[in-house]
């Protein structure tokens, strides 16, 4: 930096300001400095800059599962906002275990991010609140008390999906989803409520949040005595697992079994798949989370903001009618 300053005939401080695009630098000085930097092949050292700045402007983003398109959509949405205010986003990709998740959060914190946004998390509310005492936190996809959150109305989504099945004449509808930790209960509750409203018995099947375990659970259920005529899965990945299991058993969808997923991912849209699903506006969720996080960088304190988007059902061809 000193070399650049010397070459441009100015001080180091001015170089610093010019490079970061601060105001208070004359246009000609700035040009001189930028030229000198380019000629010298100078590269701004972000780590030194952050250390000197005494505060972090970088935004940590934790993403639960890199194989789940929803999180990619959320990331994409958030990135547009971060780029617009040119703040660096430090990505951390989760692994399916709570302890791994703690490690990743720790990594984000030692990387000195200014905020951390969780796109999906297996951490309980208390853990999140604890982290929030250190650094501003925003959660996406889940509303947690006292913490900035954005989500899509899962209860309504569950209601929508279930009623869609009910309207098609189904009476025996099972829900597939993870029970562990009681972390994402709303879709299940929406389902449960809709069933009970219709005077029907809810049937909740506990399965992990991945294709394989959903397939395992479905294989078991579909061979049981009272096989349901429809299954509502917690997300598309699990729904795909159910469909695979059904195919394996020689069951036709939607003739023998109807299936609804959640997330409206690319695979659900394929002609060959045509999975009816619930769209939760993932990229919009990401944008809002980005705005929230960016705001928190500047003004801490104040009351936590909760935003709830509205889901909509996308009907395709995995739901059949039952007389």
């Amino acid at each position: 930096m000193q070399d650049v300053a010397t070459r441009a005939g100015v001080s180091r401080a001015l170089v610093s300001m010019a490079i970061r695009g601060m105001e208070g630098v004359s246009a000609e000085s700035k040009a001189l400095i930028l030229d000198a930097a380019a000629e010298l092949g100078y590269r701004h050292n972000a780590v030194a800059a952050q250390l000197a700045a005494r505060h972090s402007k970088s935004l940590g983003f934790f993403l639960l599962d890199i194989y789940n398109e929803v999180f990619a959509d959320i990331f994409t949405g958030l990135r547009t906002r971060a780029e617009a205010r040119d703040t660096r986003v430090v990505l951390s990709v989760g692994q399916p275990s709570p302890e791994a998740e703690r490690r990743h959060v720790d990594g984000l914190l030692t990387a000195q991010v200014g905020t951390v946004v969780f796109a999906g998390t297996m951490l309980p509310d208390e853990a999140l609140e604890f982290i929030a005492r250190t650094v501003p936190v925003v959660t996406v996809t889940r509303l947690v008390p006292g913490i900035d959150s954005v989500a899509c109305d899962d209860y309504l989504g569950g209601d929508l999906a279930t009623k869609h099945l009910l309207e098609a004449g189904h009476r025996s509808v099972a829900y597939f989803g993870p029970l562990a930790g009681g972390l994402y209960p709303d879709r299940r509750n929406g389902y449960r409520n809709a069933m009970e409203q219709a005077g029907l018995q809810p049937r909740v099947i506990d399965a992990e949040l991945n294709q394989l375990d959903a397939a395992r659970a479905a294989t078991e259920l579909l061979q049981s005595e009272h096989r349901p005529t429809a299954i509502f899965a917690h997300n598309d990945i699990m729904a795909i697992g159910v469909m695979e299991a059904a195919a394996e058993l020689g069951l036709d969808i939607p003739k023998d079994l109807s299936v609804i997923g959640y997330d409206d991912t690319r695979v659900s849209r394929l002609h060959r798949v045509g999975l009816t699903s619930v769209n939760q506006q993932a990229s919009r969720l990401g944008e809002i989370a980005g705005d929230l996080a960016l705001r928190r960088m500047n003004e801490q304190g104040g009351v936590a903001q909760h935003t709830l988007l509205t889901p909509h059902l996308v009907a395709r061809s995995t739901v059949g009618t039952v007389s």
Copy 2:
């Protein structure tokens, strides 16, 4: 850190060594220090640490497309290796434009990563070589002269796929892939060579590396006068685009059209899709890239290492026979 040292009754230097698990600190001192750190809620500041260390041990990972599962697999493979040698990996997710890619690389470099591995890149060899003069570079999925690289034999993969089609009796086989930049020519060349060997006319269709553009190109080709009986696509995403276009046109796969993809991704394995594809051992690619990158952190210089894995074809149900 000073507080921790005081509380543990030792010097700052010793705290630094204890926290990083270096040798040369007695077990009892270490225990004392770790306890003090925990009680004080001390968190190691990675940015200060890196600045003081005068060299970076973090590994930059650029991933071309977050929606392409292959890159996720590569990342996963690389991460296992990085974790084993506990080095932090700084992720950078690409956007479909070369200029965006340059920005991302720049971001990695100003973040002071010690190595950068490219999982897919649209940058020309020269640009990569230029970057390699600043920091050790390793490319995955593409072999570039003078730079550590790991890839799977694309030429052989192209050959495998084409011959599979030829053996099923196809004579009119088109290849779908990106021509721009001439960046990934081997699959195409493997195809071309296999066709010519069989005395057939290669038919290369230029399409961008995404589902939509593949679908657009396929819609056009499949309505043309001499419609091919089979299409070999550069990757599964494009193959899916072709299949969607075919479905839209009312063509049956594999009766009216055979399709082969590349990457053997999850979607290709679905019963309803059953896309014949070429597996390129993506996670293994990532592991090797990780090893290469880790090695380069310690010993720079020397000759670049190139590793070429062997692909294999996974036959499913999108290839039909032609008499």
